[in-house]
């Protein structure tokens, strides 16, 4: 027990040392007075549920708040929990059973973030699909296959690779999956999420492996436990993960802008 405590503390330190992020995003902002004052647009305290917005709606925030849109394409081995990661980030708590995803599923999550001194509303489009159903589309709808496959990857801002802490082979697949997406013209950012993470218990993927990976690929691994039951509003339990995703997207943009400036 005590061993794992130490190692996870070590992980906490090593993140700061190895990954060079801009730290532009205030991680605990949601708990601040300003964050709390906007919370009701995203979380309904009376029903204890996240607010969900259809395509005709958006959170009724003051117009002074800037909105930025990103498209994130989810990849990962079948069964690791891609759908449940998106579902958890969208605010659904509790295990609803494993069902294979059929077709393409798009989920939009609105997330407010404090960057330096400014509040920015992130509109994150998560595209979730299964390799099987893409193959099936190919088989049954040959004409549209190319279009559909492009539709998923077209103008992608980030590729989110999901693996499971329960399954070492799904973790070993991650570099290969990341490489398979590097051919996309837009040079999408990389996000890596590990699901089924349980603190204080032995996992198939160890913290040492995670550290090595982060060191080698300069990518932070975001840990999620989608089945965790929570006593406080669920939104606080995934704010860290969502903030990290936004940070990755933001840094990619900043890098892009700075390169443009240099070229000029």
């Amino acid at each position: 027990m005590s061993l794992s405590t130490e190692s996870s503390l070590f992980v906490g330190n090593s993140i700061l040392l190895t990954i060079n992020m801009s730290n532009a995003i205030s991680m605990n902002w949601l708990n601040s007075t300003e964050g709390e004052s906007l919370l009701h647009h995203f979380y309904n305290r009376s029903t204890n549920k996240r607010r969900f917005y259809g395509i005709l709606e958006r959170p009724p925030l003051p117009s002074s708040i800037e909105e930025v849109t990103y498209k994130i394409f989810i990849i990962g081995r079948s069964g690791v929990g891609k759908t449940s990661v998106v579902s958890r980030l969208a605010g659904n708590v509790g295990y609803s059973g494993y069902f294979e995803t059929n077709g393409i599923k798009k989920t939009t999550i609105y997330w407010p973030v404090k960057i330096w001194d400014k509040v920015v509303l992130f509109k994150l489009h998560f595209w979730d699909t299964s390799e099987n159903s893409i193959k099936k589309y190919n088989h049954i709808l040959p004409v549209s296959f190319v279009i559909l496959h492009q539709a998923c990857k077209d103008k992608v801002d980030a590729v989110c690779t999901v693996f499971s802490f329960d399954d070492a082979s799904s973790f070993n697949d991650v570099p290969q999956l990341m490489n398979s997406m590097s051919a996309i013209a837009e040079k999408p950012g990389n996000i890596v999420i590990g699901t089924k993470y349980r603190a204080w218990s032995s996992l198939a993927v160890t913290d040492t492996q995670v550290n090595e990976f982060e060191e080698k690929w300069k990518v932070k691994i975001i840990r999620i436990d989608t089945h965790k039951s929570v006593t406080r509003p669920e939104i606080f339990d995934c704010s860290y993960q969502l903030n990290w995703i936004c940070e990755t997207l933001w840094d990619r943009d900043q890098e892009f802008i700075s390169k443009q400036v240099v070229q000029v």
């Binding site: 607010r51 969900f52 917005y53 259809g54 395509i55 005709l56 709606e57 759908t83 579902s87 969208a90 659904n92 609803s96 059973g97 069902f99 294979e100 995803t101 059929n102 077709g103 393409i104 599923k105 798009k106 989920t107 939009t108 489009h125 159903s133 099936k136 589309y137 049954i140 709808l141 004409v143 549209s144 279009i147 559909l148 539709a151 077209d154």
Partner: protein, 420 residues
């Protein structure tokens, strides 16, 4: 109180899947093998085993396309419902993989894997069975489309027509909390089971913004797939459509925003009708606890509870379960018995069965039926294509039930804006 359904290959008896509802363990392999064995043995003797009755449980066997055997075991429900249920399960299998892969599977393991995506659909069909467990959150019927009567329906209909035209499609409908508000004419021409399965397929998972999934239509197009595209317009309201290879999902979304942008207030107002499922300006008699209105010719229903009686001891969902039981046990037996016989004599033409009995010579079933129990009374009346079942509190005198039922039905049907 449990319900099981299992699927095996007819030739080899290889189990393909098994699902269950309620408490108890999964069906063991040996039990499955025995159940299949009886059916197979009788088949070799040129006999077809249809069903068997135990004191509180019914088993139904059915073979499809001479390649798949489905077996259902359930307590508390009728054989008619179980037969419909098995038909729906087989249709769900066609919906996800198409008839060709079922008839000529390249290998069984692959078919098994491909059929895994219909598990959530089959689970939802199991929820439609009336096994008296009282845990289901929604009362649903296997072969009927669950609908909602919003006063805004006539406005939504016009928007929907314009939207499907933009998509170059003919099939579209709007779901409010999973219940159908309006649909295009072509959507209503789909088989009731097709409509049911499409609705389920689009709503099996948690809320998402847009979905695009390949579907085969069990009756209309079992060989060629369509795309079922659903878009969430405002929270809890989705618009569904069946498309060909184009337009792609992002384009569908763009068109949806364009077509529906100006109707956002109408959509939000329509959402307010949910849980009551009929307009606020219609008030029900205080003796009414809830009602079930079925159009059995088109195959749709509205289920509602009277908001005036929410303080009643019996909980809302339980109440609606009583109406479902009454519908299956009494209404289908006495009021719709004629249709059942038709359906059994020529099962090949099930979708058209109801249109065929136009000659007024035959006995058309009873016009009214009722139940009286300690706490409730149920009364049903058949008028034209409608069957209207009402749940009353026990204090309502038996002879006044029919008066109230007729009056209420008249009020509901008089409102043309509901597009019923």
């Amino acid at each position: 109180m449990t319900a099981h359904v299992m699927c095996l290959t007819s030739s080899g008896g290889i189990p393909i899947f098994a699902r269950k509802k309620g408490e108890g363990d999964m069906m063991t392999f040996s039990k499955m093998a025995s159940l299949n064995g009886v059916h197979m043995f009788l088949k070799s003797q040129n006999m077809e085993l249809l069903n068997t009755n135990m004191p509180d449980t019914t088993v139904v066997w059915k073979e499809y396309e001479e390649c798949i055997t489905l077996i259902a075991i359930a307590s508390g429900t009728t054989k008619r419902v179980l037969n419909q249920f098995l038909d729906a399960v087989f249709s769900a299998m066609i919906l996800v993989v198409g008839i060709d892969d079922i008839k000529n599977p390249r290998n069984v393991e692959r078919l098994k894997r491909d059929l895994r995506i219909c598990n959530p659909i089959i689970d939802r069909l199991l929820e439609c069975l009336d096994v008296g467990d009282r845990i289901s959150t929604k009362t649903d019927l296997v072969d009927l489309t669950e609908s909602i009567m919003c006063p805004e329906n006539h406005l939504l209909q016009a928007c929907l027509e314009a939207y499907v035209e933009c998509l170059d499609s003919m099939y579209g409908c709007i779901l409010i909390h999973g219940s159908l508000s309006v649909a295009t004419e072509s959507w209503w021409c789909l088989d009731p089971v097709e409509r049911k399965l499409l609705t389920i397929a689009a709503t099996t998972e948690d809320s998402c913004t847009a979905r695009d999934l390949p579907v085969f239509l069990p009756n209309k197009s079992p060989n060629v797939a369509f795309r079922l595209v659903s878009v969430t317009l405002v929270n809890h309201i989705e618009v569904l459509s069946l498309c060909g290879p184009t337009p792609e999902l992002s384009e569908v979304e763009r068109l949806a925003i364009q077509c529906w942008r100006s109707s956002i207030d109408i959509l939000r107002a329509a959402e307010q009708s949910y849980t009551k499922n009929f307009p606020f300006n219609i008030s029900l008699d205080s003796g009414i606890l809830g009602f079930l209105l079925v159009n059995y010719r088109i195959g749709k229903f509205v289920l509602s509870r009277n908001p005036q009686n929410t303080k009643n001891r019996v909980t809302g969902t339980h109440r609606l379960d009583i109406l479902r039981t009454f519908y299956h046990q009494a209404v289908e037996t006495f009021l719709l018995s004629e249709d059942i016989e038709e359906c059994q004599t020529d099962s090949t033409e099930t979708p058209k069965r109801l249109n065929q009995q136009e000659n007024g010579q035959k006995f058309e079933g009873a016009k009214e039926t009722y139940w009286c129990s300690e706490y409730h009374k149920c009364h049903a009346v058949k008028e034209g294509d409608q069957v209207f079942c009402v749940l009353y509190s026990a204090t309502v005198p038996t002879h006044t039930m029919r008066l109230i039922t007729h009056k209420t039905l008249k009020t509901l049907l008089a409102d043309k804006q509901l597009c019923w």
